[in-house]
Subunit: 140 residues, 2 copies
Amino acid sequence: MMTTAQRRVSGLLRGNGLKVTRGRAEVLNLFLDAGRPLAQRQIMEMLRLKLDRASVYRILNAFVEAGIIHMAYVDVRHRVYELPDKCGGQKCHPHFSCRGCGKTTCLEDFRVYFKGALAKGFVAERQKVLIEGLCPDCRR
Amino acid sequence: MMTTAQRRVSGLLRGNGLKVTRGRAEVLNLFLDAGRPLAQRQIMEMLRLKLDRASVYRILNAFVEAGIIHMAYVDVRHRVYELPDKCGGQKCHPHFSCRGCGKTTCLEDFRVYFKGALAKGFVAERQKVLIEGLCPDCRR
DNA sequence: TCATAGATGCGACATTGTTGCAATTTTGGA
DNA sequence: TCCAAAATTGCAACAATGTCGCATCTATGA
């Protein structure tokens, strides 16, 4: 018997041309449950060695290619992936990263306009905006 | 006999509490000549193996700590360092990175205001803004 | 149920960045 | 100018992240 969540996961995968495998289902479930961007490392820890490191990377790359998730922000050795439900097209919303706990959250209602910022001849394709600081929990 | 440039480099180093060594002088010279942000890898290539990888990292870290350069933008395995002459305080200006040639340039007259973007309790300390695209040379 | 295309696990490798340690260099003082 | 102490460098080793090849296993459609 399949639960609603399982059906949803299968549908998302199949609908994007991906086979439904245990690994993909588990990783996708994490994203659906998390509600915030996840790094590969966090995914590994949540899965507790149930999946190989290389496989997780391949799954993430497959998801990105299929458009199921976005590679949201990139830091030194710290890529973050998330569901695109809060994004509009190519230009992802900015993120906030806490230097205390390392968690990343989305700044959905905030957009950066850079029209006129570029010199002649430059073509902008993508923007990455990250604000670093402290979240309420790590603040005191 | 010391040239004006050599005197300038020595002064900058000594004035920031750093001993004047061959490696530091060469790296600092690169920054003074470059006029744009440099990555560790570019520095290595410009020096042509005259300095050890670990030493370059230590020099860069020492410069950052001394305030001679800023760590300007951070990408997957690609930190970029630059002189702080175009920066105002903690908040560095945004950068443009060309996906063709990999060169990074500064968007000096462009500033991002994110007041009101953060939820209650969040404290912003630093912002990183990167616009990716094509520079005029890589465009056609 | 079976064949096969594709996914996984494992091992190897590349890159980036850090650290410990011995050897060398810088610097201030005699 | 020379010396001693302190700091810097080169080298080797290591950690983390990400990719790739290959053999094995699994999901899927017929």
